[in-house]
Symmetry: C2
Subunit: 169 residues, 2 copies
Amino acid sequence: MKYGIALFPAKKLQDLANSFRMRYDSHYAWIPPHITVKEPFEVSDDNLPYITAKLREIASNLSPVEIDVYKVDTFSPQSNTIFFKIREHKTLTALYEKLHSEPFEENKKYKFIPHVTIGQDLSKDEVADIVGRLKMKKVEHHEVIDRMQLMYQLENGSWTVYETFRLGE
Amino acid sequence: MKYGIALFPAKKLQDLANSFRMRYDSHYAWIPPHITVKEPFEVSDDNLPYITAKLREIASNLSPVEIDVYKVDTFSPQSNTIFFKIREHKTLTALYEKLHSEPFEENKKYKFIPHVTIGQDLSKDEVADIVGRLKMKKVEHHEVIDRMQLMYQLENGSWTVYETFRLGE
């Protein structure tokens, strides 16, 4: 089955993200606003207890992560995703690195640029237009997230949380 | 903030439920297929640590719950909801009772009839038609669920999982 790992920010930032996502994000209905810390990876039913035990161990040995959203940005021209950009922070990098080291696959598509997606599957012109407008908006949000969520994907593309792991407990 | 507590069944049943929900359930995009064990209730930010500690305690003292789906049914004429009906089982009832006893509100709307909703906000005629057809379908699913999910609701109506509590650990 396909699993992924994400952090959910506080309701306030999720609501703000959704106010854009409802118009710009084709995955709006599939998952609440989130920060992906591990892209989809396969876990067999047999292997799941081992993976969850490992995640529990990793989580307990790490600190809660610092989330500092400071602007709207895009990966354009590499991809047409629009997102709230999150400042790099050692707590977040440490989590990401642990989730891409043994026994986990190193399934990194790109360099880790922590973000909350607010738009995707848009045309190049739409991206330029939306980002142009949103870059002028002040987007600031700070919080400490003390949990990560292991999710699995359903056939319709949506994600269900399987388990929460508390960071630093 | 508004919280709710639900069980998520295995992917197989969720996929089956979604195959109906995409056509019949107005809440399809808000939450994956689930079994509500506590209807929405308010928790203040200050009170959240106390509530989660209590839920952890309750979960650890209970057994995993037996889920036995055996037919499609409706609450009609009381409500036009269509659902997969789940057999009553003492493990499920025990969980429900604990979540409606001190310190939790007794926010029961109806008698507890465990189910996975597959349709809602339909007209009376649609309900009669759909239930008539689906009652002839064999729907059987058995599983043991060993976790419950505390979720909060976003402004757009969708739900985000806040924490998982493992039953019987």
